[in-house]
Symmetry: C2
Subunit: 245 residues, 2 copies
Amino acid sequence: MAKITAAILIIGNEILSGRTQDLNVQYIASGLARRGIYLEEVRIVPDIKERIIEAVKSLSASYTYLLTTGGIGPTHDDITSDAIAEAFGVSVEKNQEAYKRIEEYYHTLGREVNTASAKMAYIPSGASLIDNSQTNAPGFIIGNVYVMAGIPKILQVMFDWLLHQLDSGPAIESRQINVEIGESKLAAEFEQLQNKYPIIEMGSYPFIHEGRHATTLVLRSENKAILDNAFEDLKAMTHKFPLIS
Amino acid sequence: MAKITAAILIIGNEILSGRTQDLNVQYIASGLARRGIYLEEVRIVPDIKERIIEAVKSLSASYTYLLTTGGIGPTHDDITSDAIAEAFGVSVEKNQEAYKRIEEYYHTLGREVNTASAKMAYIPSGASLIDNSQTNAPGFIIGNVYVMAGIPKILQVMFDWLLHQLDSGPAIESRQINVEIGESKLAAEFEQLQNKYPIIEMGSYPFIHEGRHATTLVLRSENKAILDNAFEDLKAMTHKFPLIS
């Protein structure tokens, strides 16, 4: 079976200015790994139409799925729908089902839909909707591009809803061990382990534990049997060093 | 004066797997803004040499500066130096000054430099060093590419050291106001404000405050006089709504 891959495109001046800490990449990345989808690239671009179009074209052509976050709200800086329509060469049109959902949400607030809110119902022609159980205004799907909100709470419900509709592969599992020793002292043996198990992705991440050098060694693969064998070898390799739980 | 721009390239399987929350983008982005450097793109790619080379070539050609994080440690998964040398068509060689610094650090630990640690002194031919006041092993500069560690504490001292060596422009300042009203109710007036001050970057970011809809309106520019005028207009526009401090 072909490897299923994904990229994330974050549309967000607020991330590039340093104003906002992105929290969406880790949430999406963890979910994709559980479903056996390999996240192979993330890009963050400004709220500039040409930049969004260029990134959408490039990333949607390179990976099985492209997930975007940000820029689908009611204000003038929300230009994602327009940009994605242009990337696909279609127009933006009012989606009646999206409008109905927005209207229902506003009614629960005791309000009518104004021009700005109605803008959220305008999506690329032919797109289907992504449910939003937080505030109703939907995301959308066109081709292999999944367009979601940037606000973490809304992003999360949208992503949870769509994740089970994506093709999946064997879950990508990981095993890790934290040892109280600097990574350079483990490097030679860890490289031998990598050479013994070339299909396992192996990473070494140093940290400081109670003032002393320590290392997290991570093994990652969709092949659970080989992963478990490699992890047994890793434990044998590191058994003489203090473990950190 | 031409706008000074930058991109960040994060080299890190641990971010793409969801294991690690990136903290470096926000730190770098905030510092660049203070120095009037426009961060216009971020990419995250895996620890795969061809992917790093491709991203380095593309981003270094498109922006004034490219800052990279990750992959310069002593283990087999640290391939950034090799990849960047290849992107510049030069070889990797032992940098005597880098080696000396690594040796000094190990001596303070009462240890000798082993083969793995020595690897950190091998950098692209012709590169100059970036100081690391945390653990000595330096980053490096080649062309317009600034290569730093991925561990936030080390990234931060490296970035602080190099930031004042980059060309700078007028600081990009921001003004913001938090009002207790949904963003769609402000959208029309906020768009008028944008049209009145086209050079000001304006963003609207909804949030929930004590169970009620609220919005942060952000104005951003290097032109402080016009920014202040626009902010006065923004305050007049929102004065009838409760402020959130």
